[in-house]
Each structure stands twice: as structure tokens, then as C-alpha cells.
């Protein structure tokens, strides 16, 4: 249900970098901890991108698997459930070393397409 807000955040970030150039592809890196439903994100992106330089842009999502690391014993694992206890030593001092990403990795710009009307 947070996908519409996230789609808006993506468009805002891309517009900042693309300026008035037409964007054809947005590559996003999102971690397992972010609980993003990709189909839903694509759906809402179609709405919030209207009348911006992202209108019609495709979305490519790189999913980053969640990975935890126990600070005391160094154990690393990919959790099935969000259990923040080390399976090796039971410590609660667990770091999320991957899975919290939600970043625009790159965009593809069509240099010859007419300038978009979105405010910069």
C-alpha cells in the first residue's frame, strides 16, 4: 500500500537528475526489507509519472536479498523471517548488511526526444 508514495519519491528523484530530458528507463534497487510490491509500484508509477519527464518510462527493479550479520560472532545469513536473533549464538546484536536499499540506481535518457513539460 506504500507503493504510490514510493512511486512519487522515485519520480521526484529522477526529475531532479533528468531535468527536461525524456526518461525511457528507471532502474531501481530495492531491498527485501522494504516490502515493495513491484507490480503495484509499476502501476502507480504510471499514474504519478504523467506530465513529467518520466511519463512512459519503463521500470527495472533490482531486488537485493536481505542479509543479516551477527556482530559478536560474525555469522551471516539470509533470513526467511525477520528474526533479529543470531541462529548461531542467539545474540540480538544483529546488523542488516543488505536489504534496506531503496534507491534510484540509474536512468536512461532519450537525448533526441522533445523536452518534457515537467517543472524542474
Amino acid at each position: 500500500m506504500h507503493e504510490m508514495s514510493l512511486a512519487s519519491a522515485i519520480v521526484n528523484t529522477v526529475v531532479k537528475h533528468a531535468g527536461d530530458r525524456k526518461v525511457t528507463l528507471i532502474t531501481l534497487r530495492t531491498g527485501g526489507m522494504r516490502q515493495v510490491v513491484v507490480d503495484s509500484l509499476e502501476f502507480y508509477l504510471g499514474f504519478v509519472a504523467r506530465d513529467t519527464c518520466c511519463e512512459g518510462a519503463k521500470l527495472e527493479v533490482i531486488l537485493v536479498k536481505t542479509r543479516f550479520k551477527c556482530r559478536p560472532c560474525g555469522e551471516e545469513w539470509e533470513p526467511d523471517l525477520p528474526h533479529f536473533r543470531c541462529p548461531n549464538c542467539e545474540s540480538a546484536d544483529v546488523a542488516i548488511i543488505a536489504g534496506e536499499e531503496f534507491e534510484v540506481d540509474s536512468i536512461e535518457i532519450d537525448e533526441e526526444e522533445a523536452a518534457c513539460t515537467a517543472p524542474r
Binding site: T24, L28, E103, V104, I107, E111
Partner: protein
């Protein structure tokens, strides 16, 4: 057609976080501590505030976030507490959370210098509010025993994005087939060692401890979110 790939690598929520930091600066300048109070709809945020704020020896203000209406703000205003209602229905179908910019738009309505504590009652939702910081010092979430014991495992972002978990409606436990130990175990699994308070906003049980926690926040503790 000539296409160019541009590497960006930027946290997509950076814009929100920048505004949140601006809010935080304003709060710090005025010496007001800020709590972001989050929960699912109906967990009892407003009822807990009604039970708590009357006996609080602090100058408190409340920012009420709701998709629509002012029912909650009216309840707080009836206690003669400064309250501002923020409605989020301007968005596509109504935003399900407060973001930093929405909160910023409401700040001029408060006299921040005259407050010790500002409580931001977020829109009832267990997902989005966890992702959007608003400039708060600390976050508390309420889960009630009429929700499932598995909620922490289903909404780990929310149960991790807080410095206190309030378990509300414990007066109902005797009527429910509810495994409180299982809930506490699951909270601990998702967010080990997070402080937990067992509360009934209806009977007043545990409310004193929540009041003490708010007083500590206003005094500058616990650690910032």
C-alpha cells in the same frame, strides 16, 4: 534515437529526509521534543492520548494526521490542548501517512516556543509511516491485542522503526483467545530489546508508565530516532 544511461545511485526518499532534517532543526531551536506516534487504524492512539495528556505536567501540542475529518483533533481540542489537524486526502485517494513536507506545512499553526512536547499522531497504517521520517526525536508505535500476534513478523519495518512499543487494550485479554507471550516474543524477534509497555487506555493500567516515557522524551531522553 540516442539513449544515454545516467548513473544516479540516490536514496529515493532523500527529499523527504532533507525536509525532515529542516523540521528537526526548527524543533531543536524551539526546544520542543517531538514524538511520532504510529499504529494500525483503531489501535487506540487518540484514546491513549486522551488518557495520558491530562495528567502530564508538560506544555503539549498535538498534530493529528488523518485522511479525512477532524474527529480525533476535536477530541484533543476538548481537553484544551493545542491541536492542528492535517488531512491527507489531497493526494490520489488520500495519502496513508504523514511526510516531512506535510508536517512542515502545519508547523506555523503552532507556537513551538511555547511547547515542551509535540506529539504527531500519524495516519493509522502499519506500512508507510515507518518509511517517512518527519523530523521527530523519537517514535512510538501502538499495537493492540485485538490485532494478531503475528503482526511484528508481517510488518517488521514498523516494529523496527520505533523506540517504544505500546501494547494497548490489555483489559480485553480476558475476553480474547490471545497469546500475549507470543506477541512479545515476536516483537523481540523483530526488534530485540525494544522497550514495551502493557497498557489499557480504557482502564488506565500502564498509562502512568507511558506518561513517564513522554516526560523522559521531553527531557531529552531516550536516544534520538
Amino acid at each position: 534515437m540516442h539513449r544515454t544511461k545516467v548513473k544516479i545511485v540516490e536514496e529515493a526518499l532523500d527529499a523527504n529526509n532533507t525536509i525532515a532534517r529542516a523540521n528537526r532543526s526548527d524543533f531543536d531551536r524551539s526546544g520542543v521534543s517531538v514524538v511520532n506516534l504510529m499504529s494500525a487504524p483503531g489501535a487506540g492512539k487518540t484514546t491513549l492520548l486522551e488518557a495520558t495528556l491530562g495528567g502530564l505536567d508538560l506544555r503539549v501540542g498535538v498534530l493529528e494526521g488523518d485522511v479525512q475529518g477532524s474527529a480525533d483533533a476535536d477530541r484533543i481540542a476538548a481537553m484544551h490542548i493545542p491541536v492542528v489537524q492535517l488531512n491527507t486526502d489531497g493526494g490520489f485517494g488520500g495519502e496513508c501517512h504523514l511526510d516531512a513536507n506535510m508536517v512542515r506545512s502545519a508547523l506555523p499553526a503552532f507556537s513551538l516556543d511555547d511547547l515542551d512536547l509535540l506529539i504527531i499522531e500519524n495516519v493509522g497504517n502499519l506500512v508507510c509511516p515507518a518509511e517517512f521520517k518527519v523530523g521527530e526525536d523519537t517514535r512510538a508505535m501502538i499495537c493492540s491485542v485485538t490485532e494478531g500476534e503475528e503482526k511484528p513478523l508481517k510488518y517488521p519495518l514498523m516494529f523496527r522503526a520505533c523506540e517504544l512499543v505500546v501494547v494497548n487494550k490489555i483489559d480485553l485479554l480476558e475476553h480474547l483467545d490471545y497469546d500475549l507471550d507470543k506477541l512479545l516474543y515476536n516483537i523481540d524477534a523483530v526488534h530485540p530489546d525494544v522497550p514495551k509497555l502493557l497498557v489499557s487506555a480504557k482502564t488506565g493500567e500502564g498509562v502512568d508508565q507511558f506518561r513517564d516515557w513522554l516526560t523522559q522524551v521531553a527531557a531529552g531522553a531516550p536516544a534520538p530516532a
